[in-house]
Each structure stands twice: as C-alpha cells, then as structure tokens.
Symmetry: C2
C-alpha cells in the first residue's frame, strides 16, 4: 500500500467512527428534547451499544498500523514531514485519540455510557425533588469511572489532569490554578466596588414576558447572527446545549421562563455562539476528526463572547432595543435604552451559574474547579459536597443556597461524568477577550457594524482566524497564532473593569 | 456451555442487534420529523453505517453455532422439543432471520441503506415538483437492489415472492392473487351500486378546520383509545407513520390539512392502531426478536380496524360526535349525527390511497400489487410506470390522475425499497374483519362499549389474542388460533356490503 492509499484508508476509518459518534448525538439530542420518560433505561442501553461500536471502530488495530506506516508515533504524532500540513495535523489528532482509546477496554466504555445515562436520569429526578442523597451513589460511580479512565491513560498520580486534558489539551491543573489565582482577587474586588454602588432598577424585568414573543425574538436574532436554519434547529430542553449531529446538522436548545426575559435570550445567543463555531469548520476538514473545536475553552470563548461581549454591549442594544420593545410594548413601555442596558448588565452575586452576570460568573466556575480538584485528590468525599458547596458559595460570592437544587445539583455536567469541563467556561472568558482585543485591532469599526445589526464582519473574522481551522492546533498555538499572546486573564479583567466602571460610575 | 447458557448468550446477541436497530429507528424518525434539510446526505451515511453494524451483529457466526447447539436448523428451526414453547418460537424467528441475513454481504446492505436514504430524498423532491423522470433512476436502483436480495435469498425464479415473504411470512404471490381475485369483482360491484345512489352532502367538510383544534381532538382521542403518553409521542410528518424506538418508546406521526378535517383525524387513529399493537407485546417478549408484529398484514389489520371498523362506525360517533362539535361549533353547527356519519363514510373513487374510503381503498392496493408483480416479472419497465398507473386507475377506479404527484409518486414505499408491502394493507382489511367477527362472538355488547367511549374491552381482547403474542406465530397460525379460520375475504366484503347497504339504502 502506498502512502496516498494509507492516508485514504485512515480517513475512511476516521469517518466511519465519526458517523457512529454522530448517530449517538442524535440519540442524546432526542433524549434531552422529547423522548418519552419511560424510555430512559432502554435509551441508556442503546447509547451504550453505540458507544461500544464507536470504540471498536476507533481502536481497530489497522488504524495503529496505518498511523505507523505514515510515520506517526506517540512521541512524534504528526508523521512524515513531507506530508501536507493538513494531513500532519490530522495524523496528530488521530494518533492522540487512538492512543487514548486503545487504553480503555470496550466493556468499560459501554458500561460507562450506560451508567451515565442512568446517572443523568437520577440527577434530573434528584434536582426536581431537591434530594442529593438519591443522586450521590450515581455521582460516586461517575467519579470512580473518571478516575479509572485517568489511571488507564497514565494520569494515576494526578487523576484530575487526565480529565482536564480531555477538554483543554496542553493545559494542566497547575496552569489553570495560576491563571485563576490571578483572576479571583481582581474579580472579588470589582464585585465589592460594584456592590457598594446603588443597584440599577431591574423591576421592569419582573413581569410576564410571553414565551411565544421571547421565542420569536430569539429565532430572529439567531438568524441575524448567522445561524443557517437549513443546517440546524432550535428546540427546548431543561438545560440549554449545542450538539452536532453532522456537518450540516448543528442543533441548539434553549429554555424560556415567562418571568425571566433575559435567561432564554442569552441562552439562545450563547448556544448560537457554539453553533457558529461548529458550522464554520473549513470544507477541507469535513467529516474528519479535525472538524471539531480546538478545545472546550476555545469553544466557550465563542459562546461567551457572543453572549456577553457582543450581546450585552451598548452598541448591540443601540441597534436592537427598538425591536425588543416592539415585541414587548407593554412591558418595556417607558424603559429607555440606558435603563435597559444597565439592567442587562446588573451585577449581583447569585446562586445559579447559568444565570450569573459576567463579573460573578467566573467565580462560580472557580468554585467548581476547587471542588473538582479536591474530589480527585481524595480530600473531599461526595457525601460532603453539599456542605462544601455552601461554604464555597459563601466564601466566593457571599450567598448560600437554601436548597441543593439551587446549589450542588444545579448543573448537569457531573451527572454525565463530565469532570474538568467547568474550567473551560472561565478559560473561555479569558481567551474570548484576548481574541476580542486582536479583533478590534483588525476591525476598529466593529462597534458600528454591531450597532447596525451587521454581524457578518465579526463572524467573518472568527471564521477566518478560528472556526475554519477546527482542531488543527492546540488552544495555546491557536491563541498565539491569532493574538500573538500566551494565556493571560489581563484582557478579560481589564475589559470588565472598564465596562463596569462606566456602567456603575465607579 | 450448557443449554441454558447457550440460550442466554443467544438472547444477548439478539438484544444487542435490536438495540442498534432501534438506534436506527431514532435516526429515521428524526429524519422524517425535523431534521434540517441539508443534513440528508450525511444522515444516509449514518444510517448506512448503523445498518452495517446491525448486519454484522445479526450475522455473527457465533449465532449460527449457538442455534445449532440448541438443535435449531434451517429445516427444523424450533430446536430441541424439550425447550419451552416460548424459547422454541424465539429460535424459529432468530434462525429464520439469521439464515436470511447471512446471505447478504455487509457492503451490499450498507450501500442499500445509503441508496434508500438518497432515493427517499429524491422522491420527496420529485413529488413536490411533479417530476417522475428525476426519481426514475432511484426507483430502478431500488428495484435492482430488491431483485438482488430476492436472488440471494433463493427466490431467483420468483423474485416478487422474496419481497412478499419479508412482510407476510408463509404467503406467496399466488395465494394473494387468489384472494384479491375473489375480492375485486365484489368491490367493483359494490362501488357501482353505491355510485348509482345520490351522494351524501359533504359540503360542510369543505371549510376551514383550525389545525390546533384538530390536534387537540386527535390527542385526546389517542389517549382515550389507550395510547400511553409516557411511552410515546405524536408528531407531524409529510407521510404519517408509526415507529418503535424501544419497548417503551413508540411514536406516531400524522399530518393536518386546514381544509380536511378527516384526513388528519383518521391518520391519527390508524397510526394509533399500529402503536397499540407495538405497545402491547407481552413482557415475556421484551427486547427480543419476538417483540414484533406477526406480519405487516396483521399489523395493518390493527390500524385499519381501529381506523375504519371502529372509528367510522355509528356507535363510535354516537358517543363522540358531541365532543367533535364542541371543538368545531361553527363548522358543525346544524350538522346532525346522521349527516356526519354519512359524510364520514362517503364512497367516491378518488386518486389518493391514504385518503380513500374503505370500499375503494383495497382497489388502490390491488393496482399496486398488479404493478409490482409486473415490475418483478420484467413485463413492466420503470419508465412505463406512470402510464401503467393511469391505465390501472381508469380500469379499477374509473379516475385518472392529471399529475404524477397524485399518481405514481404519491406513496413513499417504493422510494425506500419497500416492495411487496402494499398487499399488507388489503390483507389487513381482510384479517381485520375475520378478527372482528370472532371478537363480536366473544363480546356481543362491544357496540355499547364503543358508544360509551370505553375502548378497554376492545383493546383487552386484542391484547390477549394478538398483541401479547408478538411474532410467536406466522399470520396464518395466528388467524387460525384466534378465529378458527383460514384467510378469506368473505367477512370483509360482507361487512362492507351490509354497512353500505344501510348507509346508502341500497
């Protein structure tokens, strides 16, 4: 077999694996959006069966042989240096996935998938009934599975790093801790300064905002931001998410609350940010393992940036507020642009991460990072989590949940065995502002475009610099290539300090 | 390995295969109900990949070894006669499937699945644009695939029988032709006598019936008929269908037309009939290949019976008409029960099978049976189908479509490679009335129950006699066990002659 044939065979293996993975995404999407309740056990078994198939496909020994034939080894994954750069990036990612996957026995992978389905169902019930104890055994099992995976991957001495590496290649606990340690005091100080100022009037938000009108506004906005409706869907689910079922099938979900206009609106923009990334991978990556985000942090940089830096900005609302008022003429009667802008950017320590403002948000994340570190280090037991959660909330945010449903049970991630994911959100804020600073250098008139409702300049910049490249680079390389910088929270905290100094007249 | 272990292993193989098949059903359901249009090509590839996996699972040589160890051979599939009856039925069905599946190469199975997806998409477009020519190459390919399957299964000299055997085990072209030949002249004669009478007034049906109210009425009725909403869903699709995604996840679809109250209503009842069958398999069959219909004809006996014999009957509307009037007070004002009943049962030769009345319906089916026989015998070319269709419609129903969209392009079946399926609908009418006669002997007061809106007696009888048994018997055995009869169109035609003699004062 010559080299071209070997490469072509390897692409076929990769593609076959991804087709099965996307089929799993269809089942998961369905489970979250409309599956009949009693189907949950069998659905877990279906997902476990698909997971087993995907794993078999991904660990076919012929993949290992072909990688070697092309010069890709574990220590030098990019293969023969005479290959085109795109193929070398492909080999690097595939080698990395293969090396990880072959270390997991297929029975273990299938039983993890099955247990995750059941754990997620148990979490839904537990959150509904405010009953942490009923969820605790599932959470312990998720934690055991994650530790076992870390051990199999060779992270036995620092199991949390095994999880972080899944979401943020090239980043470890120490690097993230260093970055968060620099960020936390400046955030706390900003929160304190803001809290000393009079709170803006948000009373007009506490009204009935009909869900149909929320939906109509959100759909129109999503389209204007660049989401192509023939390549995706918008549905409702308990926990908003974005999922990719194929190169031309990217779906987002949101949730509307009749008395909370902002929650559904910003969820929609957040998920649209994810979806625009997924829809923007280059055609040259189509169907390959490179058609994926560079990392979860880079992914969150997109969603968080569209949600906050763009859709909570004054230029954005200058251009869009009249449309919102037209949807809610009674509710927003007499509320002027400035008052609305201030209410949208109110800073107030609160219990729920997904509803948090952009100043306190990262503190929610840092709490979860701390707890995960302790869970993996063995210095915190699952049974003690609700207490540790409340203590952490008091310490970082000065508020304390009365119910676990508003505390440790609020997020879906751990119930699905997704540990080490939370830091991505704060990293996303940080990457996002590093990108944003570079973008403003290239597009000095971006505020005018946003105010005019023209989001194409913004999207085109990200398409070129970030989206189209998919997973060709690790996050640090992508950041360096795009901004010339290494990871630093400076741009993010300076952005917050400037924006809120204005908004709150600090 | 002892016999109990062998049986248990065999059940595991069967179960693993069905989990993948149900995963495919999720993808298919999604494709029909809400997938973004541009995803169609990749979805075909996903389905092909799953089809290949399912085929690999179904043809694992260990299944063959285990079957043999349990005494199940191709000529004596039920295995050791000391095994319990349930296990012997299981062995019979599994052996039959295994023997068929091993004759199909996996590459062929996958490419059929891929081609079917594309063909279905081409059909949707062709029907929309009334363009048979653009669909013809797909249809030819579907026909080639079907013939090739028949050849591989050993039906080389009578390829149509290979297709019929898929849907109606134990039944062949000759037996069906004999039955249809007896039925056709009596149907034609009945249609002629009815057409000589004044047509009932149906003008009140030609109004706007808001889709929301249609939906509300249909959902309530579906629940009253016994469809458990925590074990299924009701959605919209271009072509109504029922699909099973798991033992507790049976979904139906319908379609509403604002100016056609009856189309959506009877589609819902029809699909509910299918769903009640799927939801009624015995717990002892759960997750096994026996949890399936005895045949497509038996399946259609359920849907057609609930739709026509039950929901187009006078007792049913005596009990339910007031509820319908309350949903459409303006539209049905001044229309009394008798007038409505007559309009619901109007007999009028027409172009579209799914909207046909129960007298002319089987003539639509017999036309399709005739055309399929000729296509498989090689005496009719795909290119000549539109012409043959028009000729057949003139001959059997005295009407002729002006557009292929209302003719040869109206049904989805051939586009998915489902040949030999159509006869099931007419067989369903026939089986249904044989069951109905037996049911009335056991439940002489069934009309009163139906009028009172109590459908539990009807459902309980079918649960016991038909649903709970799943696929344990072939249709002929099931019919014999339930009614003491062999296949005969007499009960069906006598029912029609009696009902319409009354309705039309013949």
């Amino acid at each position: 077999m010559n080299r071209a044939d070997a490469l072509s065979r390897l692409h076929e293996f990769d593609r076959a694996h991804r087709l099965i993975a996307h089929a799993s995404s269809v089942l998961q999407w369905d489970q979250e959006t409309g599956m009949p309740p009693r189907a949950v056990v069998e659905r877990s078994e279906q997902l476990a069966a698909l997971e087993a198939v995907a794993h078999e496909r991904a660990t076919d020994p012929r993949i290992g042989e072909l990688l070697e034939r092309l010069g890709s080894t574990s220590s030098d994954p990019r293969g023969d240096d005479s290959l085109p750069g795109l193929e070398r990036d492909f080999l690097r990612v595939l080698r990395r996935e293969y090396d990880k996957d072959v270390l997991l026995p297929v029975e273990f992978v299938a039983s993890c998938a099955r247990d995750e389905g059941l754990s997620q169902a148990a979490w839904i019930e537990a959150r509904k009934r405010n009953d942490f104890a009923s969820f605790a055994p599932h959470l312990s099992l998720m934690l055991d599975h994650a530790k076992e995976k870390s051990r199999l991957w060779g992270f036995g001495s620092s199991p949390y790093n095994g999880q972080l590496d899944l979401h943020e290649p090239g980043m470890d606990e120490r690097a993230i801790a260093t970055c968060f340690d620099a960020l936390r005091p400046r955030l706390s100080s900003l929160v304190a300064r803001i809290s000393a100022r009079p709170a803006p009037d948000t009373s007009f938000l506490d009204q009935e905002y009909p869900v149909e009108a929320q939906d109509a506004f959100g759909r129109e906005l999503r389209t204007d931001l660049g989401f192509q409706s023939d390549r995706g869907r918008l549905d409702l689910s308990a926990h908003p998410f974005t999922t990719t079922l194929g190169a031309d099938d990217v779906r987002i979900t949101t949730r509307y609350e009749p008395r909370n206009l902002l929650s559904g609106l910003f969820s929609t923009v957040h998920e649209t940010g994810h979806a625009l990334y997924e829809l923007g991978y280059g055609d040259d990556l189509r169907g390959s393992c490179l058609a994926d985000g560079a990392s979860m942090g880079i992914h969150e940089s997109q969603s968080r940036l569209w949600e906050n830096v763009m859709a909570r900005s004054l230029p954005f609302w200058r251009g869009r507020y009249a449309t919102l008022q037209a949807r809610f003429p009674k509710q927003l009667n007499g509320v002027d642009l400035e008052a609305f802008y201030k209410a949208v950017n109110v800073v107030r320590p609160s219990l729920i991460r997904v509803d948090a403002d952009e100043v306190t948000y990262s503190l929610h994340v840092i709490l979860r990072f701390d707890l995960e570190r302790r869970l993996f280090a063995g210095t915190l037991e699952v049974a003690d989590l609700p207490h540790a959660w409340r203590e952490g909330m008091k310490k970082y945010l000065g508020v304390e949940p009365a119910r676990d449903s508003d505390g440790v049970l609020q997020d879906i991630h751990w119930s699905m065995g997704a540990f080490g994911y939370f830091p991505s959100y704060a990293l996303g804020n940080i990457y996002g502002l590093q990108f944003w600073r570079a973008l403003r250098r290239d597009l000095p008139r971006i505020d005018e475009s946003i105010e005019a409702g023209r989001f194409t300049d913004l999207l085109a910049w990200f398409r070129e610099k970030v989206h189209s490249k998919g997973r060709r680079s690790d996050p640090a390389e992508l950041l360096e290539a795009t901004t010339g910088e290494t990871l630093s929270a400076d741009a993010f905290i300076e952005y917050l300090e400037r924006k809120y100094a204005d908004a709150y007249s600090l």
